[in-house]
């Protein structure tokens, strides 16, 4: 892609890496939301732990640009929610059940943010496409 006409496709490639990263973030968020109420299998065990996506910026040699990629998905180390539910099969001897440290409010705002970033990258792609179209229009003149 080092030729002259390849510069726009490089912009497209960078924006595509952004789309891919945000889609991966969305996957992690949906995993968190889906598991918001899952408890442990055995009494007193640990439930689902919230996952946090990270982003890393890497130099893509073929594009000669800093693209973005989804880094390691790290566990959220904050404390679990405790609920007193003696009848729950996952309850410990004291009758407490551990629930995942997922706060659906935080997940929702995160999801919105992922959506906005995704749209911004799409916007860049459509702007670049319009620019390519303008270049081709020179040929028609």
């Amino acid at each position: 892609m080092a030729d002259d006409a390849g510069d726009f496709s490089r912009s497209m490639g960078i924006a595509t890496s952004g789309l891919r990263a945000q889609a991966g973030r969305m996957r992690v968020i949906s995993e968190n939301i889906a598991n918001a109420d899952s408890t442990a299998q055995k009494p007193g065990g640990d439930p689902y732990r919230r996952k946090v996506p990270t982003f890393t910026s890497a130099l893509d040699r073929s594009l000669d640009a800093r693209t973005v990629a989804l880094g390691r998905v790290k566990p959220d180390t904050s404390a679990f929610r405790l609920k007193y539910e003696p009848t729950n099969p996952a309850a410990d001897p004291a009758g407490n059940v551990k629930y995942p440290n997922v706060n659906s409010m935080i997940e929702m705002t995160d999801m919105r943010s992922a959506q906005r970033s995704y749209e911004a990258n799409l916007n860049v792609i459509s702007a670049t496409r319009r620019m390519i179209q303008r270049t081709l229009d020179i040929l028609k003149a």
Partner: protein, 136 residues
Amino acid sequence: MAINDLPMLAALRTKMQWHQERQKVLAENVSNSDTPGFQPRDLVAPKFNSAGQLTASSAGGALPMMMTSASHMKAPGGTVSFAEDRRAGFQTRPAGNAVNLEDQMMKVSANQMDYAAATSLYSRSLGLLKTAIGKR
């Protein structure tokens, strides 16, 4: 004299290359809008003198390769490199990311509009040349 060496066409071509390069830089900023510690970048707009040539202040930092003989090979990639605009953004988030998405979106659309203007001017100039050689 090749058709691309006409001063007006050469200047427009340089401007279009600048827009192309800037689109790449802006795409980088937008795609890294959630990367911790990322600083957005931009390019300085090119300035032309009355002869349609790029003035020294707007050329890039790297020294260009000189062709002193016809048998020399051209430098690969674009013929011009553009200077980087080093003004930082006005807000930085706690993670160290300074990309302002609204700002970047405005820049992308402005870039696209200016590119459209440059390409229109280019095709108009070509039309002018066609008229000059008597083609209707």
